[in-house]
Amino acid sequence: MSFADYLGQRWPVIGVLAVQHAEMVLIAVAVAAAIGVGVGIVVEGHPRASRVALNITGTMLTIPSFALFGLLIPVLGLGAPPAIAALVLYAIFPVLRNTVTGLASVPGAVEDAARGMGLSRWARLRLVRLPLAWPVVLTGVRVATIMTVAIAAIAAGVSGPGLGQLIFGGLARIGGANALNDALAGTLGVAVLALALDLLFVALSRLTTSRGLG
């Protein structure tokens, strides 16, 4: 069966798997974004705390994903939970780093003016610093998303959901009729999903960033 015929026949399944994949990634990234931005707000302005937080979350990126999934299985069992947990651990670093960088890059004069106007610490954060850091923070979330889309393909190796199931299915049926089509659909599906989410973030960034910036 040609790849086109295969796609024509299997698109409903592929679609379901793609949605699963995206769900898994977006849940993980949402959790990681909340943690990353929260921790970033807390540690920003404290160089030592920032360095410790960045080093710990950065070290997570060194650990091979299959090993991290494996470490989480005894705690969380097989399937989606260890996969999502691992993705969260990976996705925190880019969000945290960009939050710290974004907040730190707010010009001193702007911060000074905000303080001189009598805005409280919370008001400065909410009205001035976070909106100014927003494009950078959003870029961090975007990087985290693209990165985790690819990692999430390994989730199927621990009985997780998503497009990885096509890849592992192809592997299991090597020599079989649709092995190549499955593997190709899974691999390309992940890449296409990553690019689609990338575009989504570009659009989101355009829509949510003040026209006064950039």
């Binding site: 001193g108 004069a109 003016a113 001189g116 106007m117």
Partner: protein
Amino acid sequence: MISGDVMIRLDRVSKHYPGQPAPAVAELSLDVPAGEIVVLLGPSGCGKTTTLRLINRLIEPSAGRILVDGEDVTRVDPDRLRRRIGYVIQQVGLFPHMTVAENIGLVPRALGWDRARIRARVDELLDLVGLSPETYRRRYPKHLSGGEQQRVGVARALAADPPVMLMDEPFGAIDPITRERLQDELLDLQARIRKTIVLVTHDVAEAVKLGDRIALFEPHARLAQYDRPAAILAEPANDFVASFVGSGAALRGLRLERVGALALEPVEVVRPGAAAVDRSARAVLLDDAGRPVRWASAGSRGAAGVAVVRTEDSVYDALDAMVRARDDAALVLDAHGDPVGALSWSTVVRRHPAGDSSPAPSFGDAR
């Protein structure tokens, strides 16, 4: 020395930074009268900016008391204090993600004003600083020139109508021509709103131009002299002041004197086609529209036309006009543009005040 209400009082205020041997500000006492512009002037590192930031508690004093409108600011919540004190800085610090209107309306919003009131206030303030609300309300800071940004910065500082405004080198980053204009506008504005303004600069000319009083700082925020500009230029308290205001002090002082305050010589006005009548007086030839063309008498021979000033101009401007016209006298016009006399070089140098021996200008109209 200061009569009337004191708006800001610094009472033996000191600021020590840990790990630094010398205090940034040592036992400084200073009274700022209500409704005046007081300029903190001094070399860089003299603690003038530190002093300014002590007033709105962006820097906390180590010792001493600071009273604003009779209230000890160290006992007030700093954020609420700052909403009552406008603050303008050299880099302006407009919020780049907010429009001009949002920037100006931020403090009123924080104070809980309703939308209609904020909007009206924003428009009023834009008018006040000479920016058309229609054009500028929705613009972002990046679309403004440096001068426009600083105008918006001033409008933002005035948003909640604070009685006090602190300005830290507000025109320091602006080109000289725009700076002159913004200084003039600030004086115009101040004539209308009568705020108590404390302004930091290291530019003697700016201090002399803007200040009702100048507080001149030596290093470590020691007050070298606190007086009216003319007094500081005429009678420097010590060698430091004398050297800081520099060799141009006498010339700078001329900026503070009005042409109308000096004795003017009589001028005869000659219309086209007529001849001068009184040979002893200076005569000026006007064109059909009543504009001065050249001196008609022999005594003056300005090579570059007639130097023209108005009674409200400074003597410095008159000298400038004379030098440019390469002449030793300037024709003085009143507020309606009618000639009232001539100011001569020697009058300026000898400082003859008006009323000494000034004969009324004679108008020998020979129609």
